[in-house]
């Protein structure tokens, strides 16, 4: 196995990653024999809700006392929603009640009507909710925090750092995300897996997708771009000499060994060559595919999900048996105008996930993908007028054919600012589920062994439960 993995690791790296690969190789000898299961095909799709989605305005308490409490603690926000009026999305009568299969001791929950497609997926067992997830080093209580004995994640409530912690388990500056680390493990075990298309982004090159042996390849909704300068013959002329100049141009742009002594220039040259090679290979693979029958909305979230569906469609041409995807949705930093903005975002999100499910069913892959949300943080229970501020724990969706849906995992604490579930100020939820538990549950399904989960998720050992139970098979 070691030999195969070694050849494999080196192939995707080029000269730029050579030293990094040596680092990985040295670890190989330590890798236990029970390595990742990379049989069949499986994909994880992470949807980043950038800015910090307000959990309390996404999964609302529905039992009358808790609903009234929420209204009391957010008077201005509920005022902005006009919640007393019969048409208001936050009028209790218009909320869509969830009927989970598991019991929450009298607590009832609902989602706003803009999430009706999410509710349908929940009802059909395709989607689960994981409540109060966030970065944690160890199980943490309010008392620990007050006593100063809690070991806390660094730089809580700061966007970039908490986003980085969600993605890479360290504040900003982290270079390797847990999505990328999962793929590193897969690559060690799967000799045929192409590292170039192991990790795919539809938007930014976020750290979540970066590993030691993978870096994210970007797919675009309108096809992968290719250099015009040698692909459009009319640009420089059509004689045979021009053809030969074009060939030389192409060869030159693909060269991957820098003659500069400037490291930044060497990095640029390597990534340019990689870009051209990978985009060409991706285009060739995609040119053989037939169009998907499932239609997607044309907003930027649905188009990202469509790109992912189209990439999964050509998985065998791309030579991958495991893939990690990243999608971005912006606009959740609702300090202001939350009542006008969050509904639109919810609807876009729900529509994109629902269409993606249809496409996966069309391809026969719904059993083999899991779509999950992540966000910088949840938000304060106490409002600031017409918005909310940075919090900590938040609620998330997990969807897929292998998800044990119609259930709520984790915890959905009632909206009581003074309760143990919250920090001392403004109703910031202290997470009851760590990001690493959330990740480990999917990682095990994805095929990682227990030791690989420990290797990729450094604080997992601090928690008793490593599998939250929302994945089956």
């Amino acid at each position: 196995m070691a030999n195969i993995s070694r050849r494999h690791l080196l192939r995707g790296l080029g000269t730029a990653g050579f030293a990094a690969s040596l680092g990985s190789l040295s670890q190989l000898s330590l890798t236990p024999s029970w390595a990742a299961d990379a049989s069949g095909y499986k994909a994880m799709v992470c949807i980043f809700l950038k800015g910090g989605m307000d959990g309390a305005d996404t999964i609302l308490p529905y039992d009358q006392p808790a609903y009234e409490n929420l209204k009391r603690v957010r008077p201005s926000l509920f005022g902005a929603y006009g919640s007393q009026s019969s048409g208001s999305s936050r009028n209790r009568d218009n909320l869509l009640k969830l009927t989970p299969d598991n019991d929450f001791a009298g607590q009832e929950f609902a989602v706003p009507r803009e999430l009706s497609k999410i509710r349908s997926l929940f009802d059909s067992g395709d989607l689960a909710i994981v409540g109060n997830v966030g970065p944690l080093i160890e199980p943490t209580t309010k008392t620990d925090m007050i006593n100063g004995t809690a070991i806390l994640p660094k730089r809580l409530f700061s966007h970039n750092d908490q986003l980085s912690t969600w993605m890479a388990l360290e504040p900003e500056g982290a270079q390797v995300g847990w999505g990328g680390r999962f793929m590193d493990q897969v690559l060690k075990a799967a000799p045929h897996q192409d590292p170039s298309f192991s990790s795919i982004t539809t938007w930014d090159s976020d750290v979540f997708l970066a590993g030691q042996s993978v870096s994210p390849f970007r797919v675009f909704p309108n096809g992968t771009p290719t250099p015009d300068i040698y692909n459009k013959p009319w640009l420089i002329g059509q004689t045979s000499e021009d053809d030969s100049a074009r060939d030389k141009l192409q060869r030159y742009l693909r060269m991957n060994s820098s003659t500069s002594r400037n490291l930044l220039e060497a990095d640029l040259l390597a990534s340019r060559a990689q870009a051209i090679e990978n985009s060409d290979r991706f285009r060739v693979a995609q040119s053989q595919a037939t169009a998907l029958g499932t239609s997607f909305a044309d907003d930027y979230v649905s188009t990202q999900m469509r790109s992912i569906a189209e990439t999964i469609q050509i998985r065998s041409q791309l030579n991958v048996s495991r893939q990690m995807f990243g999608v971005n949705v912006y606009g959740f930093d609702t300090h202001n105008n939350q009542a006008n903005n969050i509904g639109v975002l919810h609807e876009i999100l729900a529509t994109a996930i629902a269409s993606f499910r249809d496409a996966m069913i069309e391809l026969g892959e719904w059993q083999n993908v899991v779509v999950f949300t992540a966000s910088d943080f949840g938000r304060t229970l106490v409002d600031n007028g017409n918005g909310t501020d940075h919090g900590w724990g938040g609620h998330h969706f997990v969807a897929g054919g292998a998800v044990r849906g119609k259930q709520i995992y984790g915890d959905l604490p009632p909206p009581e600012v003074g309760a143990e579930a919250y920090t001392q100020t403004r109703g910031r939820l202290i997470p009851s589920v760590s990001v690493e538990q959330y990740a480990a549950t999917m990682g095990a399904w994805f095929g990682l062994s227990q030791s690989e989960l420990y290797e990729t998720l450094p604080n997992l050992r601090n928690f008793n439960t490593h599998d939250l139970g929302f994945m089956q098979g």
Binding site: L13, S260, N262, L264, N336, N384, G385, T425
Partner: protein, 589 residues
């Protein structure tokens, strides 16, 4: 305008102006650079020359081009002739005294559409024209740098383009001013108020439990002034006894400071109203009825209960401005925007010291700044005249040098180097929105996706050699495998002078390639010329040989003057496109 000191050195004319050429001792100015006498430069690449200030006279075309790549939106051919054998400090001195060219007037001169708005995204277009053509290049470049620290974005592009114009002008007017004044003007600007949601931010209400919006309190500390962790003056983190970094503030500080930024709204009306037309090109007004009168405690500062709004903001900004972190935090980011993606701690400390002292003396006797803490002219002079930028780089040294230029700068440098005519971006489809990475630059000034800009100062690129060396290269967050082809195609369209124009009868952003066409029969001369003009002579021999080989393959049909001319232009187009796609053009060092 250029002052007296024009150090012309006869000996320099003779020497081979490669970057490695040693500077003849006669050319060196004897004055010492100001240092605190304690700094140890042994860790940086300039070891061995600490005792002697390097020559800051721009002695070759290449020197000029490299210097202007750092300090402007790109050197023009006319600049090169003008600046040969001129001291870089003399040029700075002249730039500091130029009047500011502002952006709001040309925006306000445009008619509004029927809906009452300026034409869609016109502020983007006008800004391109402004940075390409303004004479006060250093000031404009500084404003662009500041726009990436004090990040305001009209990413949503919702009509209020005048607010952005006014905000741009705050940065332009204060570019050589004082950081304290700049912070204040930014704080009162309706653009920032709306962007970071403290416009209409009401004081808390104990009856309902409502609390002030914390957004601006958090970001002014984290991004605009002191950052999250305590810093040494050289920008490295301070560590506690257990080796941990020390956070500069806690959530309690944020809650205290959030009270300060309550009560601001549009001028001249009522707190909760937006007058029509909204007064968005003037400072916001403080409405004390809506300002929190509770005690405001943060960063070891207590603003007593009962203090009114404007006074509270004054006191808060004073406290922030006096924080020890401010100088290294802002200095390091400014260096990253001009000259080094991963500046050495020594470089940061030199600039931070000038930020604190407010004055900078060049090795040839120019003195910049007022002597006040936070003086931006002095700070900028320290960034651009740092000795490390003028010392020869030893042949054998291999490492990370210089700065990856952001895509915006690479486009403007092309436009300026070839002296484009028809500078009216409203005619260019491609310039209205350049934020996409699929077929565009992946960046546009004042249109960052969030207050965290297009990239973060601490970004270390995974899977790269610079990353293995743990070097920060912010620009690699948008300049990477996933953006190269989009950039290449965007620039190819302009280099080939075939970017789509709205009115095809008006040739906008048209490059003047006459000098290059005249060289096209001699590929090596053409490439040497472009290398000097665009990279300051940084391309490697191998790279130049490859491009020469490509263009030498291209035919020139001499059967007619017209066809020959067309072929010569083809050659120039390919040559220009290859050079502006070269890593040597992307990195200035």
């Amino acid at each position: 305008m250029l002052p007296l000191v024009m150090l012309v050195c006869a000996a320099c004319v003779e020497i081979d102006h490669t970057e490695e050429a040693s500077i003849p001792p006669e050319a060196l100015v004897s004055a010492q650079i100001p240092t605190d006498g304690e700094q140890d430069d042994s860790a940086s690449e300039d070891a061995g020359s600490a005792s002697q200030a390097p020559n800051i006279v721009l002695e070759s075309k290449q020197d000029v081009v490299r210097f202007l790549s750092r300090s402007t939106f790109g050197g023009k051919k006319s600049d090169i002739d003008e600046l040969m054998n001129v001291s870089a400090a003399a040029w700075l001195d002249a730039e500091f005294s130029k009047p500011a060219s502002l952006t709001l007037p040309s925006l306000q001169a445009l008619p509004r559409t029927a809906s009452g708005n300026r034409p869609n995204r016109v502020v983007n277009e006008l800004y391109w024209d402004h940075i390409v053509s303004s004479d006060d290049q250093l000031r404009q470049r500084m404003a662009f740098a500041l726009s990436q620290i004090l990040v305001y974005s009209n990413v949503g592009n919702v009509g209020d383009q005048d607010a952005r114009g006014y905000y741009q002008d705050i940065l332009i007017r204060n570019a050589f001013g004082n950081y304290r004044d700049l912070l204040e003007e930014v704080t009162y600007s309706p653009a920032m108020g709306a962007w970071l949601t403290y416009l209409h931010n009401d004081k808390g209400d104990p009856a309902t439990g409502r609390m002030p919006d914390e957004n601006y309190a958090r970001e002014i500390l984290q991004l605009f002034s002191i950052g999250l962790i305590e810093l040494n003056r050289d920008g490295t983190p301070k560590l506690d006894a257990t080796g941990q970094t020390i956070e500069t503030y806690s959530n309690r500080d944020i809650q205290g400071l959030a009270r300060v930024f309550t009560g601001l709204s549009y001028a001249g009306g009522q707190f909760n109203r937006r007058p029509n037309p909204a007064p968005i090109a003037q400072p916001m007004q403080m409405y004390d009825d809506h300002h929190s009168l509770l005690e405001k405690a943060f960063l070891d500062t207590v603003i007593p209960a009962g203090t009114t709004g404007e006074r509270s903001i004054d006191m808060a900004l004073d406290a922030i401005f006096e924080h020890e972190n401010l100088a290294p935090f802002i200095s390091r980011q400014l260096i990253q925007r001009f000259s080094a993606s991963n500046p050495s701690p020594e470089y940061v400390e030199r600039v931070a010291t000038v930020f604190e002292e407010g004055t900078f003396s060049s090795s040839d006797g120019y003195v910049f700044g007022t002597g006040q803490r936070g003086d931006l002219a002095a700070t900028l002079a320290a960034v651009l005249l740092d000795p490390s930028l003028f010392e020869p780089i030893a042949d054998e040294s291999v490492g990370v040098f210089g700065k990856v230029r952001e895509p915006v700068l690479r486009f403007t440098h092309w436009a300026r180097a070839f002296d484009v005519s028809g500078i009216d971006a409203r005619n260019e489809w491609r310039l209205q929105d350049t934020t996409g990475a699929q077929s565009s630059l992946g960046q546009q000034a004042f249109v960052a996706p969030t207050v965290f800009n297009f990239y973060r100062p601490g970004f270390v690129a995974p899977g790269t050699r610079s990353g293995e060396n743990n070097m920060t290269v912010p620009e690699f967050q948008i300049v990477n495998e996933n953006s190269h082809i989009g950039y290449m195609n965007f620039m190819t369209d302009f280099a080939f002078d075939r970017a789509l124009e709205r009115d095809p009868n008006f040739e906008s952003y048209k490059p003047d390639y006459s000098e290059e066409v005249a060289l096209s029969d001699t590929p090596s001369a053409l490439i040497e010329h472009l290398d000097d003009l665009l990279t300051g002579g940084r391309m490697t021999e191998f790279e130049k040989d490859q491009i020469i080989d490509i263009i030498a393959t291209m035919p020139i049909n001499v059967s007619s003057t017209e066809l020959a001319e067309q072929d010569r232009y083809d050659i120039v187009h390919v040559a220009v496109a290859m050079v502006i796609n070269s890593p040597s053009y992307t990195v200035t060092w």
